[in-house]
């Protein structure tokens, strides 16, 4: 039996959440690193790898929210592992911010601004799409 927030054992399940987040974060970060290795970029180049992980990560987290988390709200490990860990570790804000700074620093403010807009619009749209699709497909009752 996995610990459950609603069934007492508050302290244990809190610790369990941190362990789940650490494990999931490691898996997500490996996926992000692998993507960056597969799609290398120059310091002043378009950051395809970060854009790809951020937009797809937003879509998958949205799907999980509707399909999985909404159905198991009391789970002490599911959301910390998959949401905070895997998807949180797969996506990144810091690389996005630094790539924007580096593009600007390289004298390319246009692509830098475009990168911000595409990442934000793409990420929010992917989140919305995932949440709606997940909610629609989630079995009710």
């Amino acid at each position: 039996m996995l610990p459950d927030d609603r069934a007492g054992g508050q302290g244990d399940s809190q610790v369990f959440g941190y362990l789940a987040a650490a494990l999931g974060g490691a898996l997500g970060a490996l996926g992000r690193w692998g993507t960056a290795e597969a799609l290398p970029r120059e310091t002043d180049g378009w950051p395809w790898a970060t854009l790809l992980v951020n937009v797809t990560g937003c879509l998958v987290l949205g799907l999980l929210i509707g399909l999985v988390f909404a159905r198991s709200p009391g789970s002490a490990w599911l959301r910390p592992f998959l949401g905070t860990g895997v998807l949180g570790g797969f996506t990144t804000f810091s690389a996005f911010a630094l790539e924007t700074v580096q593009l600007t620093d390289a004298g390319r403010p246009g692509p830098a601004a475009a990168y911000v807009v595409v990442s934000v619009v793409g990420g929010v749209a992917a989140s919305a799409l995932g949440i709606v699709a997940g909610r629609t497909r989630a079995p009710t009752g």
């Binding site: 987040a21 990560g57 690389a95 929010v124």
Partner: protein
């Protein structure tokens, strides 16, 4: 070897983000986005500093940059919370959260990047 360093950094970053989210939820109520905003800004500053230094060894970039900062910060939770706030009819709050994270996060990254380059 690089993969192991990324994993080690990530195993510190993800629980720290969970801690920030839980602290924010405990102090400001469930659904608070302050914890996520704080780690996104802080992680951007740390990564900015690291890259601004220049000539940082690859192992340190893998451990602290890709592993720790990359995992401490998140884009998926940002997107999901913006959509959630918008869906709750709090579009103003959603826009302020998104705009605030962008301005403070990219600003922190730029500031730390520039400051480290001066060292």
């Amino acid at each position: 070897m690089t993969a192991l360093l990324v994993v080690l950094g990530a195993m510190a970053g993800a629980p720290l983000r969970l801690l920030a989210e839980r602290l924010a939820a405990a102090r400001r109520g469930p659904g608070s986005v302050v914890g996520t905003a704080a780690v996104n800004v802080a992680g951007s500053a740390v990564l900015g500093f690291l890259l601004g230094l220049g000539g940082v060894p690859a192992w340190l970039l893998a451990l602290v940059g890709t592993g720790f900062c990359g995992t401490l910060t998140t884009f998926s939770t940002l997107g999901a919370d913006v959509v959630r706030l918008g869906g709750e009819g709090r579009s103003g709050r959603a826009a302020a959260y998104l705009g605030g994270t962008l301005v403070l996060g990219i600003g922190a990254a730029a500031g730390a990047y520039g400051a480290a380059a001066l060292l």
